[in-house]
């Protein structure tokens, strides 16, 4: 029988089967493979089967059934192989992703890995992705990072770059972190800002995805009643995926992914793969943010410890010095009095002794030696004084607040309303803290004593050109002329002024340091007192 197909021949020539393509030449000499791979689907073989049927060949009824079944099984096998291959690739990718995520503590690196994984062709191959993270106060989901092209031209350029490089996920992520992380944040800043949503808005599609703990495929975006029109407009795509990031029970954030350039549909398989991917990403993000916070706390703690150590050392040093000063002063006091008596009487005797008295030289020696000892004492005391310089750079706001806090209770007890207003960014001034604090206290006490039962005291700090001014205004009866006069006369006393020493002493202290005390009547009644302190750059 002369058959149309080559299925009866062990070896054939290329002319005998037009379905053997280039590269399959070995099929010319292998009947078994040729029949399985080519003949089963060859139209000539089908014709031969038809002829067999016509000629009533015994197997002609069964053969087509076997062949159909074989072809079906073959197709199923091919589909399964393709599925297994895809899953193998996916598992390999997820494994690579997990390894990278598990070994990273750096938030930016984790972000770069996650976003690269979503958008890279070898990953999930989405065109674009946005990451929104819950803020520290857990009030908002805030747009944090966007990745992907903004238009087709940019997409084409990116895909060409990816095609050229055959990097691992980690290398791609590192490259992204190094070259693009900051610029991508800036590039999508406008969109990111508009994506932010309060966590309390339970109806919002992002929060629903978080609550449902499953990815949400949002379709027909522009007509979907669940999508706020503003969100649809900002994203500008018909379909997007919302992937919740949850670590244990904690809401970390969400990832929004879409195919804004290719408009390729997002399949249930895409969603499934992304779901597998979401957990390690959420976990890694949480771990990285915790690690970052921990690092911040450790840095703060280290700085605080250093400061504490420095202060402890300073306290110990000051205590030692204070002790030295105290001992020195005590010794000096005990020595100076007898020394003064010895030297003083010797001088007295010397004065009254006759010029030719032979013992006069003894007296002179006593006077001289006493004087020398006194000089040594003075030197020692000056040194111990110099260990504690009174003038230093101080924050006047801190000083006034401390004094005000100290006296507030007394003011309240007297029924006096009071307030303190401190100027922001007040420059430091070089003052003797103790003395200026005394003056501020004296001003408050003075006003407090002058106010009849109730009234108001307003304290504030201001900058006036090259001076820092502490201002106290009261709505008291105002200073009587004799009181004003008394203030310019040292140690004057009026009954109204109590001891009478507060304000004059205050003025003396201020003037000795080159500062000023100004007193003005307030237009509506009451008095304003101003301590004016020049701003000096350096300690003088």
């Amino acid at each position: 029988m002369d058959w149309e197909c080559c299925w009866t021949k062990n070896e054939i020539t290329p002319e005998e089967c037009p379905y053997i393509a280039e590269g399959e030449e070995d099929l010319f000499g292998s009947l078994q493979r040729r029949v399985v791979e080519k003949c089963m689907e060859c139209p000539r073989f089908k014709n031969d089967l038809q002829r067999m049927k016509e000629l009533a060949y015994p197997l002609s009824e069964v053969l087509p059934l076997i062949i159909t079944e074989y072809l079906e099984q073959k197709a199923r096998m091919a589909s399964m192989t393709s599925f297994v291959n895809r899953k193998t690739r996916e598992i390999k990718f997820l494994h690579e992703l997990n390894v990278v995520l598990q070994t990273s503590m750096d938030l930016d690196e984790v972000l770069s890995v996650a976003m690269t994984a979503i958008t890279a062709g070898k990953g999930f191959g989405m065109n674009r992705a946005f990451l929104l993270m819950a803020d520290k106060e857990r009030q908002y989901l805030r747009g944090y990072l966007g990745v992907g092209p903004r238009n087709y031209e940019e997409a084409w350029q990116i895909w060409q770059e990816i095609d050229r490089s055959n990097n691992s996920l980690r290398a791609m992520a590192r490259n992204f972190q190094r070259t693009k992380l900051t610029s991508e944040k800036v590039k999508f800043q406008d969109i990111l800002e508009k994506l932010s949503v309060p966590l309390a808005d339970e109806k919002h599609i992002f929060n629903r995805a978080l609550r449902g703990r499953k990815p949400l495929l949002v379709e027909d975006v522009f007509h979907n009643p669940d999508v706020p029109p503003e969100l649809a407009r900002v994203l500008g795509v018909d379909c997007f995926l919302v992937m919740p990031l949850i670590s244990r029970k904690r809401r970390i954030g969400i990832i929004i992914a879409d195919n804004c350039v290719t408009h390729k549909p997002i399949t249930p398989q895409d969603m499934q793969s992304m779901e597998t991917f979401a957990f390690p990403v959420a976990f890694a993000l949480e771990r990285a943010s915790l690690y970052e916070r921990l690092r911040e706390e450790v840095t703060k703690q280290t700085a605080a410890n250093m400061k504490l150590k420095e202060q402890q050392e300073l306290i110990v040093k000051m205590e030692k010095m204070a002790l030295v000063g105290k001992i020195t002063s005590s010794i000096a006091h005990s020595i100076r009095n007898p020394l003064m008596i010895i030297g003083g009487f010797a001088r007295s005797l010397l004065k009254s002794s006759a010029r030719d008295d032979q013992k006069r030289s003894y007296l002179e020696t006593i006077v001289l030696e006493a004087k020398q000892l006194e000089d040594v004492l003075a030197e020692v005391l000056n040194y111990s004084d110099s260990l504690f310089p009174a003038m230093d750079m101080w924050d006047v706001n801190q000083l006034v607040t401390a004094v005000y806090d100290e006296l507030r209770e007394r003011l309240e007890q007297r029924g006096i309303r009071s307030s303190l207003e401190t100027a922001p960014e007040l420059p430091m001034v070089c003052i003797d803290y103790k003395q200026i604090a005394y003056c501020v206290r004296a001003l408050i006490i003075n006003s407090m004593e002058l106010l009849p039962g109730s009234g108001e005291i307003l304290l504030r700090t201001v900058t006036d050109g090259e001076r820092v001014v502490v201002e106290l205004s009261d709505d008291g009866p105002g200073l009587a002329p004799e009181m004003r006069e008394a203030l310019t006369t040292p140690f004057a006393a009026t009954q109204q002024m109590g001891t009478g020493s507060g304000l004059p002493l205050c003025r003396t202290i201020l003037e000795r340091q080159g500062n000023e005390l100004l007193i003005e009547d307030r237009p509506g009644g009451g008095t304003t007192y101003m301590i004016s302190l020049p701003i000096r750059k350096e300690k003088e």
Binding site: N337, L339, M340, G344, A378, A493, T499, L505, I509
Partner: protein, 124 residues
């Protein structure tokens, strides 16, 4: 002749001051404690008080405050063994201060200066 009150708990210092200041032509009265000083100040026309800051178990500063409050026309010179007057601003209420020294020239000059100032104010 100006009348001075010397307040010091040290007997020999009172003696030395009394002798030296009398030589300068002042009438000198001494007191060993603040109580004695307050008593002597009552009714007596003193022109100046020379006051030690550190008296035995007492503070000269308290006496100074009392004098400033009640007798603001009576000048006070503080006499100290060391510069402790810096620790208390109230010491600045005094008209002058001197650090104790066997050489009394400085003290005498300070007394002269304060008395002259007082007389000037009085003369108006």
């Amino acid at each position: 002749m100006a009348k001075l009150l010397v307040v010091d708990d040290e007997a020999n210092i009172r003696l030395l001051y009394a002798q030296e200041l009398s030589d300068e032509g002042y009438e000198v009265v001494t007191a060993a404690s603040t109580a004695e000083a307050v008593e002597k100040l009552t009714g007596n026309g003193f022109d100046l008080v020379l006051l030690d800051i550190k008296l035995k178990n007492e503070s000269g500063i308290e006496l100074l405050q009392q004098i400033v409050k009640e007798r603001h026309d009576l000048p006070v010179i503080l006499s100290t063994a060391f510069s402790c007057y810096k620790d208390d601003f109230s010491a600045w209420l005094a008209d002058g201060y001197v650090v104790k020294s066997s050489d009394l020239q400085e003290l005498k000059a300070e007394i002269k200066r304060v008395l002259e100032k007082k007389n000037r104010i009085k003369a108006g």
